[in-house]
């Protein structure tokens, strides 16, 4: 298992507060994504736990693109991965944001 | 140890009338000066539907016999030696899980009717065969050489794809997956570990006296530092709003 935290500058943020949401399942080739309101600020903190070691640069690229396309300022995102492909990671991240935004606290 | 020697050590010579029916045993014995019901298995019994139903039937008969108020409900001593559930398509088809559930339900009825249930593991106590009735007792004692387990480490290594050597090392640190009555003691599911030097009659009497109807295993596991999460987490959920 490899664990790391990446923090990205993210100016774009959601207008309202939302309750935490979990999306996806930790099963082979899949992952779960937990989205929570974190500290106020212009950053997004993403924590990853993955069984595939040595792919941190790929994760960085996937997450950077995600942060660029979604309003994730001030969010804390935690990922439990079970060997998902980058495509599945991107898809789940977007789905997690959709469900996160759909419910207001 | 022969079955007879086991009975003599537990109850004293001449103080037991136990019928051996293949791997199944049932009868009565004197425990703490009173008659107790004895139900059990031997020879690393594989528990199939038929055997589970025999155990259930014996439990029900004991409850029925004491149910008319003629005497206080007797203690039920459960002797466990099982290598697990029967592995057969036939037993699966006709609902082995249902038979086990029924047996567990009968043990629970006995408890609710005032019987105390004490399990003595005198051989193997393996997964499903142990769940069906041995683990249903109020107090569980492991005799020396008792083997309590779900799966041995080599098989576990195959299934989980974790190297065997690594499992052996980790088993030293944690009681959570490796076979052994000691591990179950630390986790609260075995209340007492008996040694060969003990006076088993006396220990059995003591065990009967301190058997209590509530399920305190999670708390015991916490107290013995073998299962730190179960009790607090269950309480957290129970108290959640």
């Amino acid at each position: 298992m490899e664990q790391f935290v990446m923090t990205f500058p993210a100016a774009c943020r959601l207008a309202e507060a939302h309750p935490p949401r979990l999306c996806g399942v930790v099963s082979s080739g899949n992952l779960e994504v937990l989205v929570e309101s974190g500290d106020p600020g212009d950053a997004c903190r993403i924590e990853v736990s993955t069984p595939a070691t040595g792919f941190r640069d790929i994760w960085a690229a996937v997450l950077r693109d995600f942060v660029e396309r979604q309003p994730v300022g001030g969010l804390r995102i935690t990922i439990n991965d079970a060997g998902a492909t980058p495509a599945v990671v991107s898809l789940r991240l977007d789905q997690a944001m959709d469900t996160f935004r759909s419910e207001k606290s | 140890m022969t079955t007879d020697a086991l009975f003599n050590s537990l109850f004293g010579p001449g103080r037991h009338t136990i019928i051996i029916d293949g791997a199944f045993m049932h009868g009565t014995a004197v425990v703490a000066g009173r008659e107790a019901v004895v139900i059990g298995t031997r020879d690393h019994a594989e528990i199939d539907c038929e055997l589970a139903l025999k155990v259930a039937g014996t439990l029900l008969a004991a409850v029925a016999e004491d149910g008319n108020g003629s005497r206080p409900p007797r203690t039920i001593v459960i002797l466990v030696d099982t290598r697990g559930q029967a592995l057969s398509r036939h037993d699966e088809l006709i609902g082995l899980n249902g038979c086990f559930a029924h047996t567990a339900g009968c043990a629970d009825l006995a408890r609710r009717c005032g019987h105390r249930l004490v399990t003595l593991v005198h051989g193997d106590a393996v997964s499903g065969g142990f769940l069906a009735f041995g683990l249903m007792a109020d107090r569980i004692c492991a005799l020396p050489h008792a083997q309590v387990r779900v799966m041995d480490l080599r098989a576990m290594a195959r299934v989980t794809k974790i190297p065997y050597d690594r499992l052996v090392v980790l088993a030293e640190e944690s009681p959570v997956f490796a076979p052994g009555a000691e591990n179950y003691w630390r986790m609260g599911a075995v209340h007492e570990l008996w040694s060969a030097d003990d006076d088993w009659c006396a220990r059995l009497e003591a065990a009967v006296n301190c058997a209590e109807a509530g399920d305190t295993r999670a708390a015991l596991g916490l107290e013995r530092d073998g299962r730190r999460l179960a009790s607090p987490l269950a309480q957290l959920v129970a108290a959640a709003s």
Binding site: M1, L22, V25, V26, S27, S49, P51, T78 | C49, E50, L53, A56, G57, S88, R89, H90, E92, L93, I94, G95, L96, N97, C99, F100, A101, H102, A104, G105, C106, R112, S127, G128, A132, L135, R149, V150, M156, V159, T160, I162, L170, S174, V176, F177, N183, Y184, M187, A189, D215, R217, L229, A230, L233, A234, Q235, L236, V237, A238, A239, A240
Partner: protein, 299 residues
């Protein structure tokens, strides 16, 4: 096109809960953000999940207050470890004090999680006692089975302790999985790749025909919801009576007779034949409605 159903088999544990109960009524206990993950999996460098593979909470179903738990079959086969088991046990403890209309267990599990086998086995034993305790207090527990892992190992026992067992045809219930039997006893005893046989031995239809399941529904969360609502209404009108010597003697007589009657049976075909189905090979493809109707008519 008809309205898309939500396949219970395909849905995640959380989706099952969301679509089963009254919309928006689910409130989770020990939610994922509290991160009660399994330290034992972590120690073995296996992936962990924030809910340890089970979501528990309270909700309403057709207005009835229920406590509900759903195992996630896709996480480690829904297997029970220390945290997972404690959440379930705590939920049942809560049932005794809060007295909901019922506890719903959406079982999807192969039984004990081997990575923490001892903790899992003990947790299942605790669950068995907790289900019995809850029902002795007059609160029914329903097992709903229709996921990819079915209800096996100790969870197969837990399921059968429940007052009601609702299954879909895709659901399976048993003790030892076919793969285990094949590995130990050989492929002649049980060919686990012969999935038609696997389903004829453990699947929803044979379980219903045998009486091991009390209801059979379509693989649609809405169908599970409808039958659960019916059951809640039934138990509301006629509360669960704790099992007694009489009811267990009856059950014992039924099980004994059944074991004798099928003393040599090894294939669900024999169960279907005994249930009066004329086209035995056609039973697996029978619509659930027709299957249920036949059982009602021949009962």
């Amino acid at each position: 096109m008809s309205v898309k159903k939500t396949s219970f088999f395909e849905a995640s544990a959380r989706t099952r809960i969301a679509r089963l109960v009254d919309p928006g009524s689910f409130s989770e206990f020990c939610p994922p953000q509290l991160r009660h993950t399994s330290p034992h999996l972590a120690r073995l460098h296996a992936p962990v999940a924030f809910d340890d593979g089970v979501a528990v909470g309270c909700a309403r179903l057709a207005g009835h207050p229920v406590l509900i738990a759903a195992q996630e079959g896709r996480f480690n086969g829904g297997a029970v470890g220390e945290v997972h088991g404690a959440k379930l046990a705590g939920l049942l403890d809560k049932a005794v004090s809060e007295r909901p209309a019922a506890v719903l267990l959406l079982v999807d599990s192969g039984g004990v999680r081997l990575h923490e086998a001892n903790a899992g086995l003990i947790a299942i034993s605790e669950l068995m006692r907790a289900v019995l305790r809850t029902q002795a207090a007059g609160i029914p527990v329903f097992a709903l089975i229709g996921g990819s892992c079915g209800a096996f190992g100790g969870m197969g026992i837990v399921a059968r302790l429940c007052a009601e067992v609702v299954m879909s045809e895709q659901g399976r219930m048993g003790l030892s999985g076919p793969e285990v039997i094949e590995t130990v006893m050989g492929v002649e005893e049980f060919d686990s790749r012969d999935r038609a046989l696997v389903w004829r031995v453990t699947g929803g239809k044979v379980r219903r025909a045998l009486g091991e399941a009390t209801r059979l529904v379509e693989d649609d969360v809405a169908a599970f919801r409808a039958v659960t609502a019916d059951l809640l209404a039934e138990y509301g009108a006629r509360p669960l009576k704790p099992s007694s010597l009489d009811t267990l003697f009856d059950a014992h007589a039924r099980l004994t007779a059944r074991t004798r009657r099928f003393s040599a049976a090894r294939d669900g075909r024999e169960i279907f034949a005994a249930s009066g189905f004329s086209d035995i090979d056609g039973v697996p493809l029978m619509a659930v409605d027709a299957f249920n109707r036949h059982l009602m008519e021949t009962a």
